[in-house]
């Protein structure tokens, strides 16, 4: 029974993990940018939902489009005016630039919302249903389904629209894409914006489940790293599978070793995968 509960818990939270990681994986796979601001984007989404809930009593699920829009614009501007200037200088430059940017954002968040822990508690927060001894909260199910829907929509976008195909073209061959007339800079901006929007959606969803503070961007970033390695770079399916896998691994490690070792186990698995199968389950090899 405990095992069933653990599986369900891991599965449900895995969906959100996947959504958090999918944007990170996309940007890395397409533009070779390791975006350390990603965790901060998730937090921003959460804070936007929090603010809308506190000030205007807007249900967090309804605030998702708004947080996605804000983050889309933010991501677009960051890529256009900052990241596009260092992309060709190498992936470590983007890493450090996003690191600096993340600190800037963190600071602004502390000023705006103080360091207090926040969460969004709706009236239906505690309720759920019970199947065969396993308790399943409504919110977690909703979050899981929505997270998956977003990932699948993103996948459809990438495969069926012109812009989506342009984005995918960049994961294959940047020079080739340039030759067929794709405006690389603009595609990077759109990709980064989409990645930020996904992170924002994930943040809004997370605000209903977990509590957060301005410095809590790092765990989301760690999950993203592990999922990218597990699932494979640039692959949406990989992010989904990786996310659910990570959710299950974490859930079972809490069961077996207690709550302290989740992150450690996640990273040990990461290192093992890097040694044994660096491209993850579905991904392409990292650009060097």
């Amino acid at each position: 029974m405990l095992v069933m509960q653990t599986i369900v818990n891991g599965l449900l939270i895995g969906g959100v993990y996947a959504l958090v990681a999918v944007g990170f994986s996309l940007v890395w796979g397409v533009a070779n940018i390791i975006n350390l601001t990603h965790g901060v984007f998730v937090l921003l989404g959460a804070y936007i939902s929090f603010w809308l809930f506190q000030l205007y009593h807007i249900d967090p699920f309804l605030s998702i489009p708004f947080s996605m829009a804000v983050l889309f614009i933010t991501g677009f501007l960051i890529q256009k005016y900052l990241l596009n200037y260092v992309v060709r200088a190498g992936v470590f430059m983007t890493l450090i630039l996003t690191f600096g940017l993340a600190r800037v954002f963190e600071n602004q968040m502390i000023v705006a919302w103080t360091g207090d822990w926040r969460t969004v508690t709706t009236s239906y927060a505690g309720s759920g249903f019970v199947i065969g001894g396993v308790s399943i909260p409504y919110i977690r199910v909703a979050v899981f389904i929505l997270a998956l829907i977003f990932c699948i929509c993103l996948n459809i976008f990438l495969n069926r629209t012109k812009i989506g195909m342009a984005i995918r073209a960049l994961t294959f061959n940047v020079e080739g894409a340039r030759i067929v007339g794709i405006d690389i800079g603009r595609i990077y901006m759109i990709t980064f914006a989409i990645s930020a929007a996904m992170a924002g959606a994930a943040g809004s969803l997370i605000s209903t489940i977990y509590s957060f503070s301005p410095f809590l961007g790092t765990p989301y970033l760690s999950w993203s790293f592990v999922i990218v390695v597990l699932g494979g770079l640039g692959s949406i399916y990989g992010a989904i599978v990786g996310g659910i896998l990570l959710g299950l691994i974490e859930s079972f490690s809490v069961l077996t070793f207690g709550p302290g070792y989740q992150v450690a186990i996640g990273f040990v698995i990461l290192v093992i995968f890097l040694v044994v199968r660096p491209q993850g389950l579905f991904g392409k090899k990292f650009l060097t």
């Binding site: 390791i34 900052l82 596009n84 200037y85 260092v86 992309v87 060709r88 200088a89 190498g90 992936v91 470590f92 430059m93 450090i96 630039l97 690191f99 600096g100 940017l101 993340a102 600190r103 800037v104 963190e106 600071n107 602004q108 000023v111 690389i184 800079g185 990077y188 790092t218 760690s222 790293f225 592990v226 390695v229 207690g258 302290g260 070792y261 989740q262 992150v263 450690a264 186990i265 990273f267 040990v268 990461l270 290192v271 890097l274 040694v275 660096p278 990292f286 060097t288």
Partner: protein, 325 residues
């Protein structure tokens, strides 16, 4: 021509001696605040200088090198708790870090570029959590050490000031000898073209391992001194990835692969960081982050490179042109 070079060399040596004397006399004439600041600067300089041994020369970026800082700190704290004297403690800590790299180095150094960086980061984060959960390390509540007892507080400051300074000098010297010797040659070859280096017979795994092990040794040493200085350490504080990114930025800002670059980077960043923190408490992270962003856009190769380009504006714009998509 020859004479001009000789004169330049002598000037450089004289300048260095002057700076050394200045730094030696400094702590006796400044207040405790400044001495503490300098100890911090020296500490980061050592961290930057030691990681530079692998990162600057071989081009492998060990994001998780802060794990050695934490390991050194904890090992020293635990050993001192059992009665082992300080100097023995830090040396044992450093030695364990050295051996640790030799143990895990083989599979991890096989990875290139970002794989390696992420793997080291994984090791660091995993270690952080493991240490938080063990009893011997005091778990989440951290470890306390018996503070150094000397006639006055001032003497304690002076002790750590000169100790850090000494370790810094040794690290710089080791880096200098690396850069002039076979190890540096091998590492530079690896950075330029690893396959090429292998094909002319350079034993790349061996040299990479030695470079990483050396960087681990000095980082661990510093961690031990830090623990004794602070007299209290806790897991998230000493395994903090922010420390790692900070000293990597210092290496980049100063000039990776040079002997004095990381030093300059450390001085600049720590100094600015402290100044900004004292004057703009609320926004200091914003300012620091913005400085980092600007440096990365305009000066990714570091100060030393900028000095070699004679500080021209054109050089800065050249960087932007190179990096822009």
């Amino acid at each position: 021509m020859r004479e001009k070079m000789e004169r330049k060399k002598i000037l450089k040596i004289v300048l260095m001696l002057l700076i050394l004397t200045l730094l030696g006399l400094l702590p006796f004439h400044l207040s405790g605040y400044w001495v503490r600041l300098f100890i911090h600067i020296f500490m980061y300089a050592i961290l930057a200088e030691s990681t530079n041994m692998l990162m600057g020369f071989a081009g492998y970026v060990p994001f998780g090198n802060v794990v050695f800082f934490g390991m050194g700190a904890y090992i020293t704290a635990i050993l001192m708790g059992k009665g082992i004297p300080f100097f023995a403690g830090i040396l044992i800590g450093a030695a364990i870090c050295f051996l640790f790299t030799l143990a895990i180095g083989h599979p991890i150094l096989k990875m290139k570029g970002h794989y390696f960086a992420i793997a080291t980061m994984g090791v660091s984060e995993a270690m952080k959590q493991i240490v938080t959960n063990l009893d011997i390390t005091g778990g989440g509540s951290g470890l306390s050490l018996v503070p150094l007892s000397l006639p006055s507080v001032r003497d304690v400051y002076l002790f750590f000031y000169f100790l850090m300074f000494l370790i810094l000098a040794i690290t710089v010297l080791v880096t200098y000898f690396i850069s002039k010797g076979r190890l540096g040659y091998a590492l530079r070859a690896i950075k330029a073209n690893e396959e090429g280096a292998k094909s002319i017979g350079i034993n790349t795994p061996f040299f990479k391992m030695i470079a990483w092990a050396l960087s681990a040794f000095f980082t661990g040493l510093t961690g031990g001194v830090f623990a004794y200085w602070m007299t209290y350490i806790d897991s998230p504080g000493v395994f903090d990835i922010v420390i790692a990114v900070k000293f990597i930025i210092m290496i980049l800002v100063g000039g990776a692969g040079t002997v004095f670059g990381p030093l300059l980077g450390a001085f600049f960043i720590e100094f600015i960081s402290e100044l900004v923190w004292s004057k703009f408490l609320i926004f200091h992270l914003t300012i620091l982050g913005s400085i980092i962003v600007l440096v990365i856009i305009f000066m990714p190769k570091g100060f030393i490179w900028f000095y070699q380009k004679r500080f021209t504006l054109v050089a800065l714009l050249e960087n932007v042109r190179e990096g822009k998509v």
